[in-house]
Amino acid sequence: MTTLVVASLSTREVGRRRAALILVIALPFWFYLVRRDLTGQSIRMLTLGIGWAISTLTLFVVNASRGVDPRLRLTGASVVSIIGGRLLAMTGLGVALALGYWTLVAIDQDVLHLWAAALTMLVSALVAAPLGSLIGALLPRELEGALALLSVVAVQMLADPAGLTAKLMPFWSAREIGTYAVDGGSLDLVWRGLAHMGVTWLICVGGTLAVFQWRLRLARYPEP
């Protein structure tokens, strides 16, 4: 139950930060708009924009909770329920954002595999929340975390898609599935993308939980 309460209240918190929420929703749109004339590029940029927006939002939500989390632990909540609830909320927001933009793409673009376009945006949203959470766990200060995320997205955007560097980036999965959605080809692209997403998700969620298990650990004292 704690997980669901944390998720519900995290969603409510984000919903009240109206200006931040509007900027988060708008960010992928600017990415999309600048390359709207090219279907493939616009979808790839949009997907990356969704990933950047949700991971940044998650980073700030994680950092904003630093004062509350130790008290929740002391009151009886487990690390998994606190972090899991927050990830659930941010992933839900990411999925909603992805579905919204998929609707825009479906109306505005002529895409070869529309279902795969939906999948690439969902994959981006699913990876983004744990990625923002992991960076927030490793770099507790907001500025450092935001700059780290900017670096990740910049490298992802600029790296040669065929090279090793691009494959090591967290959103490579979305790019791979996006290629299938726009250019067609073998379904292997989709499977490779899903496998990459699965591994990235596990690393980010596992890393986040490991860092917070250590940071929010409570000393076990014997009873008097």
């Binding site: 139950m1 704690t2 309460v5 944390v6 209240l9 409510r12 918190e13 009240r16 930060r17 904003a64 909770s65 004062g67 509350v68 130790p70 008290r71 929740l72 632990r73 002391l74 009151t75 009886g76 909540a77 329920s81 409570l218 000393a219 076990r220 004292y221 014997p222 009873e223 008097p224």
Partner: protein, 270 residues
């Protein structure tokens, strides 16, 4: 109820309070009610009764300590030879303290001598470098500042902390609101923590620390931003906890608090 502050001030004057002080108390009381988005009458009741109650509290702080004391219960917190070092710097060492149920202990000392660190060690959030800590499992911590989520209302905080303690949302909210009234505070339904004054936020912190009915309460200068009435309400609440058999450890720098406590631990100069 717009003349409530005037009636309150007039009653204070009638009870012999100096005009300047009466005006200040009336202003503080009105401000406190405004923070709760309610009229003073709704929060404090009739003006003349609250004025008498407040004066009784202000005039008799020492009398409160002479109330009937219950026998101290079992040991709920025990520190033996506890020390803390950050790299090569010793914050404190060889700290000993035993607090039983029904007792209040105060930790005093200069700024930077490690009072808050010691409280975090008692909570289990920081590990001691040396020594032994024994304590009961159910513990509540009230930090000096922070510890709340700025975008959530008081009731949402009750729901969140209640869920952490395994309480259903409805019960957590009603318990929180009930505990808040003991501090003469009625939480506003729409007021977020970041919109509260420092004193009201500390009341929220106090309620959150107590929500899960801990046996041991660790309070780190919890009265920051309290007005005089809230400060007295706070000590009344500490006595109520003590009389209910709980152990309370308070970090304080106010020397006149020390007459109210059973143990004083001076961490000294750094």
């Amino acid at each position: 109820m717009s003349d409530w502050p005037s009636a309150f001030e007039a009653e204070l004057l009638r009870l012999g309070v100096q005009p300047g002080r009466a005006r200040r108390l009336a202003d503080e009381t009105s401000q406190q009610a405004a923070e709760s988005a309610a009229t003073p009458g709704d929060v404090f009741g009739p003006a003349h009764l609250y004025a008498r109650h407040l004066m009784a509290e202000l005039n008799a702080p020492a009398a409160a300590t002479t109330r009937t004391r219950f026998e101290a219960g079992p040991v709920l917190l025990s520190l033996t030879g506890v020390g803390k070092k950050y790299r090569r710097q010793t914050v404190f060492q060889d700290v000993n303290l035993t607090v039983r149920g029904g007792e209040v202990a105060a930790i005093v000392g200069a700024n930077g001598c490690g009072k808050s660190t010691l409280l975090r060690i008692c909570a289990g959030l920081t590990r001691p470098t040396s020594g032994e800590v024994r304590r009961v499992r159910r513990v509540g911590l009230v930090p000096q500042d922070g510890g709340t989520a700025g975008w959530l209302t008081a009731e949402e905080h009750f729901t969140l902390f209640g869920a952490a303690a395994g309480m259903v949302p409805g019960r957590a909210r009603s318990t929180g609101v009930h505990l808040a009234t003991r501090l003469a505070w009625r939480p506003g339904r729409k007021q977020r923590a970041q919109q509260m004054s420092g004193g009201t936020r500390q009341k929220l912190n106090l309620v959150l620390g107590e929500l899960h009915a801990p046996d041991l309460l660790l309070l780190d200068e919890p009265y920051q931003g309290f007005d005089q009435g809230a400060y007295l309400d706070f000590w009344q609440q500490v006595f109520a906890w003590r009389d209910a058999g709980r152990a309370i450890v308070v970090v304080t720098h106010l020397l006149h608090d020390l007459q109210n406590v059973d143990h004083v631990l001076d961490l000294g100069e750094r």
